[in-house]
């Protein structure tokens, strides 16, 4: 082999190729390293809180006594958000995919996406300044008329800054996520199924119930799970809206707290063991959302294999 101008220029190109593919590989590995780092650094910084004597943790009864109520509070807020958001989101997604006029559908989808674009702190401010005030008469009514239910036990909060308000604000925030995911799934329904149902004389609702919803069920479940992941980790809406306190069953009095809001409210002024306690709380939140998200992804991937949609 002789070194011709051609092959020598190829040598330079080969180096470029190596550098470029190496950089791409490094970037991919960096992401893995970062995620590993997230877990590692959270664990390392959290260990002091887990090993410290119980009396030194806030509340004086150890880390698990501290984290338990706020885990429950987080779940309560997220469940309220999903209970409200899921039916509305499915309705909106159906409206955009099957009811709205074709020309309008894209624009309407964009309007719903705008909901997702509004920063969470603005939702929090809106919830605290507007929604809480407007909704507190409804809480009074609930306390008077439904007070026999433990979740509506009075006296209702005068400011309306309760876990139910926080849940409603969260539901507005997860609505666009569930909507956009379910809309995609609804649009993937095989056209032939829909047309077959219509040709047999089904009304539009019967067509949706018989062909669209059965097809989309796994997709809806995973969309709701992803919404749950978002609702669990959402911070500002709760931090600004909820006047927090001890764990209570009643949704319309002040009380309860979520992990994310607890961290946001206390971390800026924290020092020493308190920092590790809060980081340990963050680790717990990370693990919960990780589990929820992985289950959702698993449902999606299983769905992909069997539906023949792709």
């Amino acid at each position: 082999m002789t070194a011709t101008p051609l092959s020598s220029s190829q040598g330079a190109g080969r180096a470029g190729d190596k550098i470029f593919s190496g950089a791409a590989l490094a970037a991919g590995c960096l992401i893995l390293a970062v995620l590993f780092g997230v877990a590692l650094f959270l664990v390392v910084q959290a260990i002091p809180a887990l090993t410290a004597p119980a009396a030194e943790i806030q509340g004086g009864a150890g880390f698990f006594a501290y984290i338990w109520p706020i885990v429950i509070g987080t779940l309560i807020a997220a469940v309220i958000a999903l209970v409200i958001a899921t039916p509305v989101a499915i309705g909106v997604a159906l409206f955009i995919s099957h009811f709205a006029p074709r020309g309008l559908a894209n624009g309407l989808g964009y309007v719903v996406d705008l909901l997702a674009a509004i920063p969470s702190v603005i939702y929090g401010a809106w919830g605290a300044a507007f929604l809480a005030k407007e909704i507190s008469p409804a809480y009074n009514w609930l306390a008077e008329n439904m007070g026999w239910l433990p979740i509506f036990q009075g006296p209702a909060s005068a400011t309306g800054k309760t876990i139910l308000t926080a849940g409603i604000v969260l539901s507005v925030m997860v609505l666009p996520i569930i909507t956009s995911l379910t809309r995609e799934i609804f649009l993937q329904t095989p056209k032939l199924h829909e047309e077959a149902a219509l040709a047999l004389g089904a009304t539009r609702w019967e067509m949706i119930r018989m062909s669209v919803l059965p097809f989309a069920r796994p997709g809806i479940i995973s969309a709701v799970m992803l919404g749950l992941g978002r609702a669990l980790g959402e911070t500002m809406a709760v931090a600004l809206v909820l006047s927090s306190g001890a764990l209570t069953a009643s949704l319309i009095t002040s009380g309860n707290q979520t992990i994310a809001a607890e961290i946001a409210l206390n971390f800026p002024e924290a020092s020493g063991l308190k920092v590790s306690t809060l980081i340990a709380a963050g680790l717990v939140l990370f693990l919960i959302t990780l589990a929820v998200n992985m289950i959702a992804r698993w449902i999606i991937s299983r769905h992909k294999e069997f539906s023949g949609a792709n």
Binding site: I118, M236, A260, V275, N293
Partner: protein, 370 residues
């Protein structure tokens, strides 16, 4: 005209028998609005209640009329349509309400003199008390927060875009759907689901361990924002690179072009519109993030131009602190005016970025057809 021999009682043919006339929804709507107004007039009128009551009356009226004329199947269909349209209208309510609240409360703050050009340095409760009690102008502004937001977001973009884009290139061009590529895809999905506050805690924990306890600077916040931004950039760029036709790559290879030159000169330019709009959307997402900045950059009331040293303010944390810890606890109104003004600025920024993403996608879209 002449009269017919057998007077026809209805003009409707047998084919359209048993159907509601086309004008039925409008009749029911008008009736519902009138009856709704009457009911509300009895218990005290308000527009919101009128809308709710009328909507319920409309649904009940239309469905029961349909059940009488058309039978239960058509009635169920009508009910489902009402519910679906109703849920869309319900979803619009918070959007309108949020934007209206921010506009109404934010405009006085935004047009206050010096709001965009002053910081909160030296603004104390004394001035706020004066503003409320003596009607002096509300002073103090968001200049320092704007500087902070822009610096942190730019730094986060500088970190995230190369990493995210290169990862997407690896996944599409080099990964071959191998084990590493699948692991990266999976963990990018996982990263998408990281709560923003956990990303903030990670950056804080990382810098506490590496630099020293209590390290809070704009750069730490930028790292936290990158953790949130990278997965968004990877996913959108990956989608865009995937739809670049393989023929383009093969044509380049056939001309003897190196793979990396093909990617840089052919693949990326073809996909640049989608990539750019994806990056813009990612910026729009992180620019409004509050929680990670709160735990990583602290708060500042004065201008800090150094992203690598000292506490830094940002628009979202400015809003948060002004609402939660008003400058003058006795008179929180000036603080809330500033907070809403900042919220308006933030919402305008986010909307501009969102519209910009659409424009970029349209302007730089590769010319197809001829």
């Amino acid at each position: 005209m002449s009269s017919t021999l057998t007077p026809v009682r209805s003009k409707r043919s047998a084919l359209t028998k048993g159907q509601l006339p086309a004008f039925a929804p409008y009749v029911v709507l008008a009736a519902a609005l009138i009856i709704g107004a009457a009911i509300l007039a009895l218990i005290g009128f308000n527009t919101f209640g009128w809308g709710i009551v009328s909507a319920l009356l409309f649904a009940v009226g239309l469905v029961s009329w349909s059940a009488m004329v058309e039978g239960s199947r058509k009635a169920k269909d009508k009910l489902a349509t009402c519910l679906v349209v109703g849920s869309f209208l319900i979803a619009l309510l918070p959007l309108i309400s949020v934007i209206w609240t921010v506009l109404v409360n934010g405009l006085p703050g935004l047009i206050a003199p010096g709001f965009l050009t002053n910081s909160m340095n030296g603004v104390t409760g004394v001035y706020d008390n004066k503003a409320v009690e003596e009607g002096a102008p509300v002073i103090g502004g968001i200049y320092h927060a704007l500087i902070g937001t822009i610096q942190m977001t730019v730094l986060a973009t500088i970190i995230s875009v190369p990493v995210g884009l290169l990862t997407a290139i690896y996944l599409v061009e080099y990964g071959n759907d191998g084990r590493l590529a699948r692991a990266i895809t999976f963990f990018v999905d996982v990263m998408t689901g990281i709560p923003s506050i956990v990303a903030g805690l990670f950056a804080a924990a990382f810098f506490f361990a590496v630099v020293g306890p209590g390290t809070k600077t704009g750069a730490v916040a930028a790292v936290a924002l990158s953790v949130l931004m990278i997965p968004v950039v990877v996913r959108s760029s990956e989608e865009m690179l995937k739809i670049v036709p393989n023929e383009l790559r093969e044509a380049a290879y056939a001309l003897g072009v190196r793979k990396w030159r093909t990617i840089v000169k052919v693949v990326i330019p073809t996909a640049i519109s989608g990539i750019a709009s994806g990056v813009t959307l990612a910026i729009a997402r992180v620019i409004g993030e509050t929680a990670p900045i709160l735990v990583t950059a602290g708060f500042a009331t004065s201008i800090n131009n150094n992203v690598f040293g000292g506490w830094m303010a940002s628009l979202p944390t400015f809003i948060y602190t002004q609402i939660l810890n008003p400058t003058s606890p006795a008179n929180p109104d000036p603080s809330s005016q500033r907070a809403w003004g900042a919220a308006l600025v933030l919402i305008i920024l986010v909307m501009i970025l969102n519209l910009g993403a659409r424009l970029i996608a349209r302007i730089f879209a590769p010319k197809t057809g001829r």
